[in-house]
């Protein structure tokens, strides 16, 4: 890919350095993700062995299996990101690897929900009565339902804590795949909870309790998965940066960046463009300088200074290209 002469041709964006306190958070997030993967493998094995003909149980199994995806995506994305600093091949750096992971992860979440919804609705409309047998341990007969509940509790309790531990990290790191993963854990424990209630319901002779519980949960997963898939698409389409957990709310940094330029004493007027590349923001600032500045020779050094200063606003402000202009081409652009 790299040709002779490229060295003289390209200039890559600077490698992005997280502030020290966030580096620690990132290391913690990575540890949590490894922990999640190991944990989910044990859950999948436990549920596999307890799997009966319960609909909600089956939904929980598929759910847990697919919920390994976002954690793996996060780690793979990080691996690639670290492996390829910005260079002649990827001059903008690999920030968007997180956007790609976010798309895949949220789509996995959507798929989990749709599958569980289909499966449990079919069971309900076909009036399938789940048959749950018994096992015999040391001469005691134990209803398999209790064993299933035990396996589901293992899918429930640790997931609550894992999800809750990841959420604040994801917000601080502005990492959408991480937040998707945290929400996957939420879907995990909700599914497990519903399945437990469903199985206890079966025991009371309410055959429909199980599929109804599964339907309700899958609807909430579908809703969440759809919201996130849409969010990842809008990131790819370079929507203006948004809040990490609300795609309809603009990120407050856009205003800060605008006012930073607006308040420089050599700037007459400014317009900006911003986009999210993974966790960081790229953008352009179009500046109309005050007249006496454009006539003097100091503009280049003022622009360079502004480029350095705007990055101090926030670690997420990564690369803002500053372009001096005489007038804005579309005066009415919003």
């Amino acid at each position: 890919m790299e040709k002779q002469g490229d060295k003289e041709k390209f200039i890559a964006t600077e490698a992005h350095e997280l502030p020290d306190n966030l580096k620690k958070k990132l290391a913690k997030a990575k540890k949590l993700e490894w922990l999640t993967i190991y944990y989910l493998i044990t859950v999948v094995i436990a549920i596999y062995f307890a799997l009966g003909s319960s609909q909600a149980m089956k939904a929980a199994f598929i759910e847990d299996l697919l919920s390994i995806v976002p954690s793996v995506l996060f780690l793979v994305a990080h691996h690639w990101y670290n492996k390829r600093p910005p260079g002649n091949e990827y001059p903008y750096g690999l920030h968007k690897v997180f956007t790609a992971a976010f798309l895949l992860g949220s789509f996995a979440l959507l798929a989990i929900g749709l599958f569980a919804l289909y499966d449990s609705s079919m069971a309900f409309f076909k009036k399938e009565h789940p048959t749950i047998g018994n096992i015999y341990i040391f001469g005691y007969s134990i209803w398999m339902g209790w064993i299933m509940i035990l396996a589901l509790l293992w899918s429930f309790i640790p997931a609550v804590f894992l999800g809750r531990a990841k959420l604040p990290l994801a917000q601080k790191l502005h990492n959408k795949i991480l937040i998707t993963d945290a929400n996957t854990q939420k879907a995990d424990w909700q599914t497990a909870g519903a399945a437990i209630i469903g199985i206890i319901g079966i025991g009371f002779g309410l055959w429909w309790a199980d599929s109804i519980a599964a339907i309700i949960i899958s609807l909430s997963i579908v809703k969440d998965g759809f919201k996130r898939t849409k969010g990842s698409m809008t990131d790819i389409l370079e929507q203006i940066p948004t809040e990490i957990d609300n795609d309809d709310k603009k990120h407050p940094l856009d205003y800060e960046i605008y006012s930073f330029f607006k308040n420089l004493d050599w700037v007459k007027d400014v317009r900006i463009r911003l986009r999210e590349n993974g966790a960081v923001f790229f953008g352009e600032a179009f500046i109309i300088p005050k007249e006496k500045i454009s006539q003097s020779g100091e503009m280049v050094s003022l622009i360079e200074q502004a480029y350095k200063d705007v990055k101090k606003l926030d670690w997420k402000v990564h690369d803002i290209t500053i372009q001096p202009v005489k007038a804005f081409s579309q005066e009415d652009s919003k």
Binding site: S53, H129, N134, I197, I200, I202, G203
Partner: protein, 229 residues
């Protein structure tokens, strides 16, 4: 739903489940069987179940008779094919079905299965003094016509040599372990296949299932052991 409510809800449900009458039947099969009678569909299956014009016999018939006695229920025998048993169970018009059902029955999507009441192991044997081959692939194997041993031999890629009855082991032979034990032979350690014999019930009738499985686990298995002593 607030997260704190879920464990509380689960706890409440669990406590109320502990009154002995758990799990229950959605269609009350067990209760009805005790009050009225146990409706048993019986399909013909060699030594396992025969209707005999209303005078049923066979291992599975003995099992059901023993079970009915243990819960104090009358039995109403209904002669039917496996197909009919499947349909009737699906619509809760039978309580139990017998007649050579196994764990891998194609009906298992539509009916509930009990734990196996017996497991038939199909093994191979050679005359005493000879060595049992590690596998039967491309080897000639003597089997009874129309037996599950024949299917097992085909499945393991052996070449079946059909006979009408087995009396003596003269060369490599496949049959249920019980049958092989009656003859002078060296029997393989491994199984060609295992056939798990089960009783079928309506789907989701978990109280009936529990009571039937308890009988199979304790009394039926003990009876079998006593018989063999």
């Amino acid at each position: 739903m607030r997260i704190a409510k879920i464990p509380i809800l689960i706890l409440c449900l669990t406590i109320s489940a502990c009154n002995g009458n758990y799990p229950r039947d959605p269609e009350n099969s067990l209760e009805k069987a005790k009050r009225k009678s146990l409706r048993v569909g019986i399909a013909e299956s060699k030594e396992l179940s025969n209707y005999n014009n209303g005078n049923p016999s066979g291992i599975e018939v003995e099992l059901i008779k023993g079970y009915a006695q243990s819960i104090n229920a009358e039995i109403e025998w209904i002669a039917a094919s496996q197909q009919e048993i499947g349909y009737l169970l699906k619509e809760f018009q039978l309580d139990i079905g017998i007649g050579g059902f196994t764990k891998t029955t194609p009906w298992k999507k539509h009916v509930g299965l009990t734990r196996p009441y017996s497991t038939e192991k199909i093994k191979v044997a050679v005359p005493k003094g000879e060595v049992v081959p590690e596998e039967i692939e491309d080897k000639q194997v003597v089997v009874k016509k129309g037996s599950s041993a024949l299917a097992a031999v085909k499945k393991k890629k052996g070449i079946p040599v059909l006979v009408n009855s087995l009396t003596k082991i003269t060369q490599l032979t496949a049959a249920p372990e019980e049958e092989l034990k009656k003859m002078e032979a060296t029997i393989s350690e491994y199984d060609l296949i295992k056939v798990d014999h089960v009783v079928v019930i309506p789907k989701g009738e978990n109280a009936l299932l529990k009571s039937l499985e308890n009988y199979i686990h304790s009394e039926w298995k003990n009876r079998e052991i006593k018989k063999s002593l």
